[in-house]
């Protein structure tokens, strides 16, 4: 640019001056694009949260919409002296069910050996397939095969535990584990079934223990209409006075800031899902994802823009040299205006739930969570530090926060679903605003939680 030192022409100078005076204001889109490019983590966070909440919803939907698939997770079939092909001919549904069977069998020759088939009771465990309406065919099949089972009973000495095999290539009748337990009376009347049951016992007990293990996990979905209140804290006069005695006081507000503003609570809601893991008979740990929408009304008056002024004054002779704002000269519109502050948050509830009372269908639960939360929007109004006006300042907001939540709810079990209802309180531990902002706002939500939960099997 050395050449430019010779550049002193008047026209260029004036052109540059004029051009430099020109300013344009970019649209909001530009900053949001720039911001998302230099902070890809926030994008990853949104994607991660979407996947997490999507996963919970899919899991819940799967359990709600097609419970039959889950009920059939632990199907047991018994096959005694029934060749695979003939069984498949008898009931095509069963052969279809075989497609989903697990095949840990280590010797396929067993199935094709007539001698061994005659002397071996083979148990088959299915992990898919049949709805509860297959109970009857199962029972029928057991009864019709009683002769065979009896013959097996006569040859008990020939049946050794290793012969109880788990096979995929089975077409034998399915038997639901829960029904086995529920229908013990029926079985006791039928010695053949009892015999079969005793042979199947190791498999059944293994299946039951799996089920119990699985029942430690459950999911929970809920929605909570809430009443959103908030508490404001301003600069404490006492704090200022104590920290700098005998010195000029910068800001003095003697009244509680909550009394100076006119904010009314409004309805919002929380929507979420949890996965619960039972660590003991009555206590479960839970983790999930929650979306919350909070809002409150602001009543205020429009006024013309003004330059705030400050002056030294005395207050009742106690404090000399304090500063106070002067609002003289402001014209205020007499018509009251109403604005709404809305907050959208995503949070990750992590907590404990305890069964307080009840053993059967009706139970009382108490839960508590800590929720790291992320504020999705920063376009709410902020009260100015002199409590005189509202402004929009995205920089004033704290994105990450921590919420403490507690709930007490009654649950009632209908079928496989447990319905829940009860009060819930959420308190935002840190201020909505950053520490650098002199005001503090803590949101508190009171709500009635409606939820459902179900064991994952």
């Amino acid at each position: 640019m050395k050449e430019r030192f010779l550049y002193e022409e008047e026209f260029e100078k004036q052109l540059k001056e004029k051009a430099d005076q020109f300013k344009m204001y970019p649209s909001d889109k530009v900053w949001s694009e720039v911001n998302s490019s230099i902070h890809p983590r926030s994008r990853k966070f949104v994607v991660g949260m979407t996947i997490l909440i999507g996963g919970i919803l899919v899991l819940a939907g799967n359990q709600l919409i097609s419970p039959s698939k889950n009920l059939s997770n632990k199907l047991i079939t018994s096959k005694v002296n029934v060749p695979a092909k003939s069984a498949a001919t008898e009931d095509p549904d069963r052969s279809a069910a075989n497609d989903f069977a697990i095949n840990p069998s280590d010797n396929s020759n067993d199935q094709h050996s007539p001698d061994q088939n005659q002397n071996t009771a083979t148990a088959y465990v299915f992990h898919s397939g049949l709805s509860s309406d297959r109970e009857s065919p199962t029972n029928e099949l057991l009864e019709t095969r009683s002769g065979n089972l009896q013959s097996v009973g006569h040859q008990e000495s020939a049946i050794q535990p290793p012969d109880l095999k788990v096979s995929a290539k089975s077409s034998a009748a399915p038997l639901l584990v829960p029904e086995l337990n529920d229908e013990q009376q029926t079985q006791s009347e039928n010695p053949a079934i009892n015999t079969a049951s005793s042979e199947l016992a190791p498999v059944i007990s293994s299946s039951q223990s799996n089920r119990i293990q699985n029942e430690k996990l459950s999911w929970q979905l809920y929605i909570t209409p809430t009443l959103n209140t908030h508490y404001l804290n301003g600069i404490s006069y006492q704090t200022v006075a104590q920290s700098i005695p005998s010195s000029p006081i910068m800001v003095v507000h003697f009244a509680n800031v909550n009394g100076l503003v006119d904010n009314t609570p409004m309805m919002g809601y929380n929507l979420g899902g949890n996965i619960l893991y039972k660590i003991s008979k009555n206590i479960s740990l839970k983790v999930g994802l929650e979306f919350s929408f909070n809002r409150y009304n602001i009543k205020t008056y429009n006024s013309n823009p003004y330059q705030a002024s400050t002056r030294l004054n005395t207050y009742l002779g106690y404090f000399v040299d304090s500063l106070a704002n002067s609002n003289s000269g402001i014209t205020i519109d007499k018509n009251q205006q109403q604005y709404q502050n809305r907050y959208y948050q995503l949070s990750l509830p992590i907590g404990v739930e305890m069964k307080v009372a009840g053993k059967g269908k009706l139970q009382l639960h108490l839960g508590a969570t800590l929720q790291p939360s992320y504020l999705l929007n920063t376009d709410a109004y902020v009260l100015s530090d002199d409590y005189s006006s509202y402004i929009k300042d995205a920089q004033a907001f704290r994105r990450w926060n921590l919420i403490a939540g507690t709930e007490l709810y009654l649950s009632y079990s209908i079928g496989k679903i447990r319905w829940e209802i009860g009060p819930q309180v959420r308190y935002q531990i840190f201020s909505t605003y950053r520490n650098s902002y002199p005001l503090q706002e803590n949101m508190v939500n009171y709500g009635i939680r409606f939820g459902i939960s179900k064991s994952i099997r």
Partner: protein, 191 residues
């Protein structure tokens, strides 16, 4: 927030400092982009690309010279790259050798608004406009311009001469600068 605090905040990747920096300089920088760009949309694209570079290359700022100047250089280079990428510049660069047209210095009245001047500059063909922007407003030498635009230094000079002449005529047509007798005679001779 002071400029030093903004710089330190940006180096630590603090979103608040980055937003402050953007708020402070984006209006000026968008005006720079707008002078180079075909339309406002293009200008915003250039600005976006430029500010991403600014934030990503913040650590390379040595503190020598004004921070605004450093940002401005990045933005200008982004604009040039954008024009090259879209082939808008190459298509309209005329290879015209410097002519011996003598242009007397004109004074731009102070009453003329900045926007009027910028609008006049934007009427120029993109090749002229780019050279004029770089030389007269951004302060680059013809040698530097030739390197930036991949053209001969003499081409840059001729482009600038033609650009300035054309701008002068536009300003006269729009009554933004007074018409002198010498100028009237010359314009009459041309037309």
């Amino acid at each position: 927030m002071t400029e030093e605090a903004i710089l330190q905040g940006c180096l630590k990747n603090h979103a608040a400092a980055q937003k402050e920096l953007y708020n402070r300089y984006s209006p000026k920088m968008l005006a720079v982009c707008y002078r180079f760009a075909h339309n406002r949309e293009d200008a915003e694209d250039m600005l976006q690309e430029g500010f991403i570079k600014v934030f990503l290359q913040m650590h390379t700022f040595q503190g020598k010279g004004a921070f605004e100047g450093w940002i401005r250089r990045i933005i200008v280079h982004t604009c040039i790259n954008h024009l090259k990428k879209n082939k808008r510049f190459n298509e309209s660069v005329d290879i015209i050798q410097a002519s011996a047209i003598q242009i007397r210095e004109e004074n731009i009245p102070s009453i003329v608004q900045a926007k009027q001047i910028v609008d006049c500059i934007r009427i120029l063909p993109v090749g002229y406009r780019t050279v004029l922007n770089l030389y007269a407003i951004e302060g680059y030498s013809h040698k530097e311009i030739s390197g930036m635009l991949d053209i001969e230094e003499s081409t840059s000079r001729s482009q600038y001469t033609r650009a300035r002449q054309m701008l002068e005529e536009i300003l006269i047509k729009r009554n933004l600068i007074p018409v002198t007798k010498e100028k009237t005679d010359r314009l009459t001779a041309i037309h």
